[in-house]
Amino acid sequence: MKFFFQHLMPWPHVPRNNPHPQAWVTYPRKYYDPTLGADIYEDYLSQYEYAERLGFDGVCVNEHHQTAYGNMPSPNIMAAVLAVRTKRVKIAILGNAIPLRHAPQRIAEELAMLDLLSRGRIICGFVRGIGPEYHSFSMNPTQSRERFREAHDLIVRAWLEPEPFEFYGKHYKFRYVNPWPRPLQQPHPPIWIPSQGSVETIDWVAEKRYTYLQTYSSIESVRRVFNEFRTAAQRHGYEANPHQLGWALPIYLSDTEERAYEEARGPMEYLFNEVFRMPPSVFFPPGYLTPRSMSRVLANKKGLGTGYLSFEELIDKGYAMVGTPSSVRERLAAYQKEFGFGNLLAMLQFGTLAHHLALRNIELFGKEVIPYLRELGESNDAERDSNRSVAQRR
């Protein structure tokens, strides 16, 4: 199993009982204190560096806009910083919200730059951006899916084809697509797709033989979605390998169960209930989900993002994992055996979690969890399957 250190770079100073209906879109930026912000960036970046030292395989950045939830509006800038401040780890950009871009070639260019600067350590995630981004940019959510597919096709084609070409889509029309430079990893960096579990996305990721990431979900949903992915892969004529499945969740470790719960409770509730939560009309703007996906995603995410979820509920349903290193690694091992995923994305700083606790969390995870679980999902079969699927895609 590969271990990734995931971070949102949250703004940790939204007051409890924030009088605004959300920490997104219209949450006034006067609440952002730049002096504090510079220090917070530095703390967070040092957590990334620490994760590399502690043996993680990769680190992750992501894109959100106009929000206290995550302060990486340009994930590629953070990836550039990490390309310099780390030496070994993969840098997973999960992902660039490609439909929000007016010229997706910019993504092909920037990702190639990053791959060169990091000497081939980039993992390329593509996302649509969640609902509030469509409010933040007044971008029509009903076109999001089509724009995503077109932008994806343009970028990947630009990486695969050696000559300039014309791209004539419904939403994107370019006479000369010819982005320089080219990525170091050929034909292109691995592509990962984080998703909320829509039927269409699962099938598409399986068809493309990319890696599928399930984020913020109950155990029940993770189980179902990973099974659906495997079935979809079979439908497309192959067996999914463990490295095509990734699970992302907040994890917190401490010396005792009680202490872990005590230390994680406030920061975790802050993450889910103060900065993530938003009105349904913002989370799911009209047309963002197909009618078919709407009911499913809502069932998968019952209350998540739009309603209050207590700490107990978050733990019981498996949205997050909290405990001693030994109890958490036992649970992870059991889930790995059952679900067969090959990538674990651990969010080890979340919400208001203090810098020193985040560092200790990283240290405990690096020393007490990773070494015990590394071999899981790493059979020779998996490697062979992985190589085969890459070869077939070429």
């Binding site: 879109v25 007044s138 009903t142 009209p286 047309g287």
Partner: protein
Amino acid sequence: MESSRMMSVRGTNIRLLEGGAGDALIYLHGATGGGQWLPFLDRLAARFHVYAPEHPGFGASDDLPEMDSIEDLAYFYLDFLDTLGLDGARFIGSSLGGWLAVEIAAIAPHRVSQLILLDAAGLHVEGVNVPDLFMLDDEQVLELTIHNPESLAQRRQALIAADARQAEVMARNRATVANLAWNPYFHRPKLRHRLHRIQLPVLLIWGEFDRIFPPAIGAEYERLLPDAKLHIIPECGHLPAQERVDEVAERAMRFLLEGVR
């Protein structure tokens, strides 16, 4: 009296409500959807053959392939006229349907003989604030829509009582509206530069307390259209034809039959 049927317009099936006899009068519904034979339509049907189509992407009607602007919908309604064999018609449009009626008239003024706009979208007026309906939930939108407290309470009950099937229809209607009106928000910037082409008598009816598209938008239509007259309905919200049926039906009939504004 009225009847409902599915009709095909160049392969797109839509639901058409019809009633009455006489010259053709087409009612274009707004963003909350159609498919209902309103008491207002019954009044018009006393003297006209009233057509109340449900727009593509709403209710029982199919999606219109490749539709992503109000102009696409306007051209659809020219096909609709052709399919019914109508050279032209009188048009009444409410809200989003009002904007649509103006677009039709701007493209093909010769196919519109008279035009009534009820609290129509379609124009951006500098300095006039309009709420972002897409940021609000259904109940909040309802509160902005209806002025009369009793009728607001009734509609809120109906909203709460909506079953899964109705909720699905409402979600699809909303997606269709977003497709047409997300950005630019419920208007087309170039429309104001086409209004001079609509050389026909237009009656503008606006609720005094329309908080969705305030009467200032009606005043701007009155200023820009060559032959339009704005009439404000007092103590009324965004849907005068539903909140003030008698008064609005009477005004509409006098305009349609006698040209009185």
